[in-house]
Symmetry: D2
Subunit: 227 residues, 4 copies
């Protein structure tokens, strides 16, 4: 299994046309190239339909964008944690703002993922929700005010208090949970700000996926970490 080191840069492919199928594999290969050249962990979350296709072809950590709360069995059209693991992914995102999940389901998934040695990254929108998630004990939380997602305005600039408030509450409830910064990340400066606030990495999507030159966009993100 590819190792997750911090700082972590996780690229969410969402359901963009630019990151689907063969183009998705190509983007994952570019991310892998930057990792090979710099040693910084660049992880990817491909479209669900491309999960095994990409995870079987790259050495960087691959996450599922979502998982359903079913054990293997007669559950047509649902994604199990076991399928995520068999696809070759290291873990899964849970509760992204575009795919929110029930509280009891987050609890179940976090527990079952732990048993399966899959890494969980649970998304959150406010410090209070982050504290709630921390009580469930996932590996990581990504704090992303939904109103900033896709805007290019980083939360670290627009609402730093949401990030620091999350760090404070998470530390109090469950200090072993790591926090990433999401929403509006596009530049190396944004990554730098996220790390300065005390988070251990970033979650981003359009900032890379929609960039004209993927290699340049990802290299720009890792530059402040290299210094």
């Amino acid at each position: 299994m590819p190792e997750i080191k911090f700082p972590l840069i996780l690229i969410n492919f969402k359901a963009y046309k630019e990151s689907s199928g063969k183009k998705g594999l190509e983007l994952a290969k570019v991310a892998e190239k930057v990792w090979k050249e710099t040693g910084i962990t660049i992880a990817v979350a491909p479209q669900l339909t491309d999960l095994a296709y990409i995870a079987q072809s790259v050495e960087i950590p691959v996450f599922s964008q979502h998982v359903d709360n079913f054990s293997p069995g007669a559950h047509t059209g649902y994604v199990t944690l076991e399928a995520v693991k068999d696809a070759g992914a290291v873990g899964t995102m849970v509760n992204h703002s575009e795919r929110r999940v029930r509280l009891d389901v987050i609890d179940d998934i976090v527990k079952r993922a732990r048993d399966l040695k899959l890494t969980t990254l649970v998304c959150s929108n406010t410090p209070e929700v982050s504290a709630a998630v921390a009580a469930l004990g996932p590996d990581m939380i990504a704090i992303e005010p939904p109103e900033l997602i896709g805007t290019g305005i980083p939360v670290s600039r627009a609402k730093p208090e949401v990030v620091t408030g999350t760090l404070d509450l998470v530390k109090k409830v469950n200090p072993s949970v790591k926090v990433l910064t999401g929403a509006g990340i596009t530049t190396g400066e944004d990554v730098e700000a996220a790390l300065k606030l005390g988070t251990v990495g970033v979650l981003l999507a359009s900032g890379v996926v929609k960039a004209k030159d993927w290699y340049k966009a990802i290299m720009d993100l890792v530059r402040p970490v290299l210094r």
Copy 2:
């Protein structure tokens, strides 16, 4: 694109552990082998996470088990028709009894799939629901009384009137829609009965996926068609 000929045998991998990841690819390869040896169309519906992985590796028709009603964009964790196409699949199942869908969503998906030249197979549980689906104009309907799914008791034996009732109503509402028989199919005899009732193929899952010898199980299904 692999061509769909009738009779069609469609194997739904569901979320079974026996058909996940590398094992899923292996099962698809066995299905492909039977097609090569017999010329009978064996299609597969792999787990969502394996869709591109399998569709890029076999020459038989591959279906998605499910699709969400989104266009490409910022829809983390959802499966678009475009992603299904980019994965290399020929079409998608819709409204399986384990993953029912809203009426307006079936309508949207059928229309958008037509534009994208993707084949739609909509599942149904009663003659009335089959008639309703036929009004939306999908390529195929699979009639599956949910209470027989996974039982090994074929609908053609337990409730033939559900199949013939579906054929009658579908013919009246939209004669261009093809009908498959599902639920409880495990043997070549069941396939034979399905074709005799007037349907153009079968949809099955555990009858193959849970079989000890996949090749033998699939060969047994196609035997009556070969005679």
Copy 3:
């Protein structure tokens, strides 16, 4: 039980603040007054929480805005058909564009409502979906292109072909199903146009609920019917 006669004017209270609680009862009383004065059936669909409160206090037909597909039992927070009946309602709306429902659920609800002698009004958005609904055999269909709802632009003016297309297809699939016109209805002129196109009544909401003078707004709707 209050009798439903045609033409029927059904006022949907939605979740507007103007039609909630005591104000909802007051609005229902105004509708009842118009019925008493004119003999035209004015039915109301109060907010779910007000259903019994209003149905027990007026003599006009009361509909539920929605119903869940459960039999009575341990289903906290869900609305059963039996509860709708015990509340004193004559029937239920199903599949409103703001609360769409699964195809198999519409089928179940229509069948169970028939057994309970509750009237079903299923909403639809296109002629094809209307035909699909007709195949399930509800008492009534309301055709409402969602993009016109709440606009004040009546479908009879903006898209008369959606109404006539629905009438044609419904007649073909199941001629016993009655069709209402919805979306954008605010004036007596709109009601007149709906009846001229061949539908048996109208479904409307903001046109009455948001009116300054409820009595005047409802009287204006029934005027062309009285002539």
Copy 4:
């Protein structure tokens, strides 16, 4: 508004046929009678369709069984907090095991209910989920292991560690949140055990609703509190 005092006994009417419509009102009247005779707060959570009907007719606190996360507006078939308030209820249950809710939705509802001065009772299934809920700051949590609901086996006897574990974690995360015991409560002994463990009341359903003599069943519950 009727005042909530502790210990609190909250009777959930669920969707039982025994507690629907006029029978629901009758049951609420019996609960009110016990309150008048003993001074112990007996609150009720009627079926959604009966909420205003019952809340307008009794002086005891009435809760909604569920609420949707919408503001007043064009949301046909959904229950808003404002409708709950206009119906005359003092608050709402949220996230019952039969009607689980998304984490971000619980957060929104708790905040909006606070602004509207509505009391929130959020249900939970494990100590970890209770801690998560406590981080969101509702007024009350009811801890109910779903496997015991409706069994007549009280959690205080079968799994006291779930109750005490909840109390410990909730105290740590947010000591202002009150905890009720749910699941399997039927007798005064169960109420006594719940209070001894440190919770401030009970949430129950079938133990009262399905009892042959409602008055006797509720009086039996309050007896240990009276001593």
